[in-house]
Amino acid sequence: MPERKQLTLTQMRIGQSGVVIQIQGGHGLVNRLNALGIRAGKRITKLSSMIMRGPVTIQVDGAQVAIGFGMAHRIIVEPVQAIK
């Protein structure tokens, strides 16, 4: 069992899934992310990231959301092992 490591969304690998642990930001940011279904406890999968600190795209439930690099950097995720 590897140690339970926490990563930011920007550090995750593409295709990796994880559970959102925390959003490090003010009320406004938390509200906006919540409204798109991104909140603590939610399982997400990183789909892609753009080069040069571009946006990160994730899958959350039935939706895909693109998140600017700075915001993605403030979303803390605990990776889960992929279940084949």
Binding site: G37, D61, A63, Q64
Partner: protein, 568 residues
Amino acid sequence: MKILLMGNPNVGKSVIFSRLTGVRVIASNYPGTTIGYTQGFIKLGEERAEVIDVPGTYTLEPTCEAEEVASQMLDTGDVVINVVNAINLERNLYLTLQLLEKNIPVVVALNMWDDTRHRGIHIDLDKLRELLGVPVIPTVAVTGQGIKELVENIPRAISPDSPVRSRDERWAAIGSIIDQIQRVTHRHHSWFERLEDASVKPLTGGIMALAALGGAFMLIRLIGESLINYALDPLFNNLWAPVLLRLSNLMGGSGFLHDIVIGKIAGGEVNFIESFGLLSAGLYVPLAMVLPYVIAFYLILGLLEDIGYLPRLAILMDTIMHRLGLHGYAIIPTLLGFGCNVPAVLSTRILESKRERFIAATLISIAIPCAALQAMIIGLVGEHGGQYVAIVYGTLFLVWIILGFILNHTVKGFSPELLIEIPPYRLPSWRATLQKLWMRVYGFLVEAVPIILGAVLVINILYFLGVFDAIADFTAPLITGLWGLPKEAVTAIVIGFLRKDVALGMMAPLGLTAGQLVVGSVVLTMFFPCIATFVVILRELGVVSMLKATGVMVTAALVVGGILNLIL
């Protein structure tokens, strides 16, 4: 009675609105299509009820102007039809719970119901009705399924008087609802979803973007040119020209009235652009030069919109757009601007901050030529060779980049980051796409053609009165000295305020060199917005921002026109 259609962005409110009221509105596959509000009517029994298509919002705590409009409108309504995306129920229910806390009757339309099955989503409808305490009607707006039941249930809408909850309490309540009513079974990735993933990865996405934009550009030219060469030019040359010549004879071949109606006829032949009369250039410019490209542009734009490609382009462009003080989503107003700057400036409402809206609107009105102007640029400058058209576009692109960079470093305020939902790819329905095309083309015909005719009339009268000669002498140092254009070109610049397509058409009889036409095209694009755009910017940004934007435009046009004149 006033019925509000409310829901998250891109859940199909506008399609339901059209189904309910018969009023056609622009619907597209990206969040933020509806930015103002549209009103229609529906018969409920004997009563006529007003229906309002409210811009999409995720919460009643607004985060941008379109959302502000939505939450303000809530106070004015009597019933809410809450349109909910069935394939993304959990997130959509947040707004639903907020609505249920308000003292207003609600009925829920569970839209995109047909998508749930192949996505392996099972929803227990009866249980959902019980837990929410309001009617829940499954609908498929694009096919019309469930709309009748929805209408029947409007009178049954109730306000269950939910207790007001905090944000976390709402999410907890939603979690419990979802656990009880929704089951998701595993299924394999579809071909569409693989394409979706590929279009937001740097390498494959970049290739797809180049292919999409390059393909779009070539298709627009192909369709536009074909319409001109095989339909409209033959029509005007073979059928309309003889009619005009006979009419010209009847009217005595010259004179004030003759010149207004038919224009100057040289050598017994009608030159539709240079004979500047109501029935010659007044009809030829809008119908045979501009209309073909308006049709071609909006057909291709409509397809890109309905497929759902634009938000993906926004992701790819995000890094570049940040250098211009914008984020990737500003690419959508920018692309709309290639059709017409008016809806483009309006759609900057999807951007969150005032600073972004100012930068986006300024850049659009300076560097993005509308379809009408582009048609004239391609028609007139293109005669001298494609390289000159390329210089015009290249210059405007450089202006867009450099000016955006400057504005980003000088305009005070803050530009937030990109945060958007990306809709799934959908196969556009031809009916819906063609209907949208028709709405836009019809809009062009009823709005542009009368202004063009009016402009031609005014120009002829001013010529006759000699007003233009006086202006031309006065502005000659600028027009000739700085831009290297003949002093008569000032008339075109002045008329550019009315219609830029007509204005460029006015440069045709001046016998300009290719280089002068390039300068003229660029200056006309940049110098000043047309009156319609001017009014919209004024209304959207206020007087101060409008003056600032105008200052930027005039300065940039002077500088760039001068530089081009020196180089060419």
